[in-house]
Amino acid sequence: MRARVRPGIEPRAHRAILLSTPAVRLANVTKTFGAHTAVRDLSFEVPRGSLYGFIGPNGSGKTTTIRMILHILAPDTGGVEVLGEKGTRAANDRIGYLPEERGLYKKMTVRRLLAYYASLKGMPAADAQREAERWLERLELTDWRDAKVEALSKGMSQKIQFISTVISKPELIILDEPFSGLDPVNLEVLRGAILELVADGATAIFSTHDMTVAEQLCDSVIMIFKGDKVLDGTREEIYAQYGQDTIRVRTDGGAGVLESLEGVEQVLDLGRYQELRVQGDPQELLRTLTQKTNVRHFEETRPTLHDIFIRIAGPEAAREEASA
């Protein structure tokens, strides 16, 4: 990782200061577009070296927040600090950004494109070439380095876009829906590459509306809905808060018999299974249930992030997410 040195501070001390600060800190940030409030009073911190999930349905304010982190947009109120730099683009050369909608020059060759994107991050040409070769080999694209981008398949293009994001060895990597449209094989390749980068010390912000993927990958998660933060914490913290009250059952009576049970707050019908959110003792619930119908399966389980999201944001969020 490269670190910028502030004048008057000894480099090692400066590095220590840098590492003690979060990679990203947003404090009471609000951004409006005309009458529409995209982000409202948003505060969160992304710890250094973490894989941070930024989740919420489409249109919830994720991209606006990312653009403020990149200083492409300025907040109306509040502060944005990125890699120790407050309110300026000074850290942008140390950030890699993979936007949701891929942007590659179709007529450029892969090698020239990667060299160009690296040069925009201030990377010397020789270093860029070396790093490009390394990543092309890592992602099995070496044979395509002199091909024009327009000749690549969709999966290859996405891998090239990923390389262009990380070629400059950024300290902070922002990935907006990095797996969308990828086949399972390429998804695993990219997932491995992201984990490798985080293991090497980079911080990754992983923005997605697919909460299952975020749940599998991320150490911490912030959930945003209609511009408001509705959830923020490590996975452990979140499950500690929401993870003790979900029962997965399969009965002969189906969903109808479950809704009338005492202590059942919500029934989510998944077809073959039903998930219940309950208050009270699960064993008591099982006893009551066996008196009413044949129970084929009964399991205490953790709610998914999706369940938690629905629980927090309500049925309206479920509808919006389904239509997204």
Partner: protein, 437 residues
């Protein structure tokens, strides 16, 4: 600055390595030269079909003259040997005249019109008897046709009839025609430059003005500048729009500011135009030297051309970049393209007035219409006698101020527009973006 140069370099290399650049490089001279060659070639392509024409001559006095003239023309006037001793080839159409005598109760113009409509005749001519007197009617010599664009036949008839009428008038007046014509022969005016006194007391004689010096060079320079701007500036609009539509712009502005991005693209396009201009201007300089006509090109022409071209490219390039950034669809771009093109065309629209009087108040006034300064001033400084001394700093100041203002305003529009999606741009909104914080 390094990032701006990196963008400019990428834009430049991407453009000059493309087939489109080579096509543009050779396309423009080929198009212009080819157009000239085509016109020259077409001049020799004459429709040689026989043209039949009926003549109604109630007096009977002029028909024999026309008949004899037509015979003479058809025998000698329409044949030409391309080389000595080669067989003559027909180069003009034959005119077959016939005398028309109406039948009883027939109206000549109606009867002959029907024959023209039927394709039997090219046209017909009505010779009023008043032609031979001094009191002419309002239609003494009328040619009727349904193909008025073919003018060779009526012009020939007019010449023959007038020649005969003049001969008869001189004869009636008992005057020597040759003497009269020599007495009224016009005197040709020639245009010369100014004489000047040298330090040694001698005189530098005035030189005869040349159309090449006074019109061709200023006009060609202005046209070349216009075409170079047209080659690159509107392209920027398409490029920016394409990058925006393909979401490349979002990747780029995460690494550079929108203003850096716009400037990089602008400098890249200036470099592309300078490359084209260097090739064209270099070719022209070589050609004028080779054919020993370089004295027609005033000193400083090339430097002025390149300098004013850079101003024009920065002005129009930034304008088109800003408009491209404000659009989200090709349809929006097309609607914005029209007003921008009108601004670009102002020097062309006013060319007639500027050529007529390069230092007239209209030409001087138009020079200081902000975006028109580079092109109009280029024409005026190359067309003798050139602008007044005060105009040189004034025009330069105008170029500098306009360039900075347009680049600044375009940068403000670009900053907002390059990430804006969905809404069709309006001029009100663009102005709002210019003054937004």
């Amino acid at each position: 600055m390094n990032k701006i140069l990196a963008i400019a370099r990428a834009e430049y290399l991407q453009a000059v390595r493309s087939k489109a650049f080579l096509i543009g490089l050779f396309g423009m001279p080929i198009l212009l030269g080819g157009g000239l060659l085509f016109q020259v070639a077409m001049q020799d392509q004459v429709d040689l079909r026989e043209r039949r024409c009926a003549v109604f001559d109630p007096s009977g006095e002029l028909w024999p003259v026309l008949e004899a003239a037509a015979n003479g023309r058809n025998t000698h006037g329409i044949w030409e040997a391309k080389e000595e001793e080669s067989e003559p080839e027909q180069v003009r159409p034959e005119f077959a005249l016939e005398r028309y005598v109406p039948e009883d109760g027939e109206r000549p113009d109606v009867a002959l019109s029907e024959r023209v409509r039927a394709g039997d005749l090219q046209g017909f001519v009505l010779l009023d008897p008043s032609l031979l007197g001094s009191d002419l009617t309002d239609r003494p010599l009328a040619y009727h046709t349904d193909e008025p664009t073919f003018t060779e036949l009526p012009r020939w008839i007019e010449g023959v009839v007038n020649e005969e009428v003049r001969r008869r008038r001189f004869e009636a007046a008992d005057m020597d025609r040759e003497l009269a014509e020599s007495l009224v022969r016009p005197v040709k005016l020639t245009t010369w430059g100014l004489a000047s006194t040298r330090a040694d007391g001698g005189v530098d004689e005035a030189e005869k003005e040349s159309d090449v010096r006074t019109f061709v060079i200023p006009f060609a320079s202005m046209m070349l500048l216009f075409m170079l701007v047209m080659t690159t500036a509107p392209q920027l609009m398409n490029q920016v729009l394409e990058e925006k539509m393909q979401r490349i712009a979002e990747v780029l502005v995460s690494s550079v500011t929108p203003f850096q991005l716009m400037l990089g693209k602008l400098f890249g396009s200036v470099a592309i135009s300078l490359t084209l201009a260097a090739l064209y201007v270099g070719g022209i300089a070589w050609a004028t030297h080779h054919w020993d006509v370089s004295h027609y090109v005033p000193p400083g022409t090339y430097a002025w051309f390149l300098g004013l071209m850079v101003f024009a490219l920065l002005m129009y390039g930034s304008l088109f970049s800003a408009l491209g950034s404000a659009c989200s669809e090709l349809r929006d771009a097309q609607s914005l393209m029209m007003p921008a093109m009108i601004i670009l065309m102002i020097p062309m629209f006013s060319l007639g007035a500027i050529v007529e009087s390069p230092n007239g108040s209209l030409a001087v006034g138009l020079t200081y219409f902000p975006t028109a300064t580079p092109m109009i001033f280029l024409f005026r400084l190359l067309a003798p006698p050139g602008p007044a001394a005060w105009e040189f700093p004034a025009a330069m100041a105008m170029c500098i101020v306009t360039t900075f203002a347009l680049v600044w305003a375009s940068g403000k529009i670009f900053r907002v527009g390059v990430l804006a999606q969905g809404q069709a741009p309006t001029f009100g909104r663009l102005i709002g973006w210019v003054f937004s914080k």
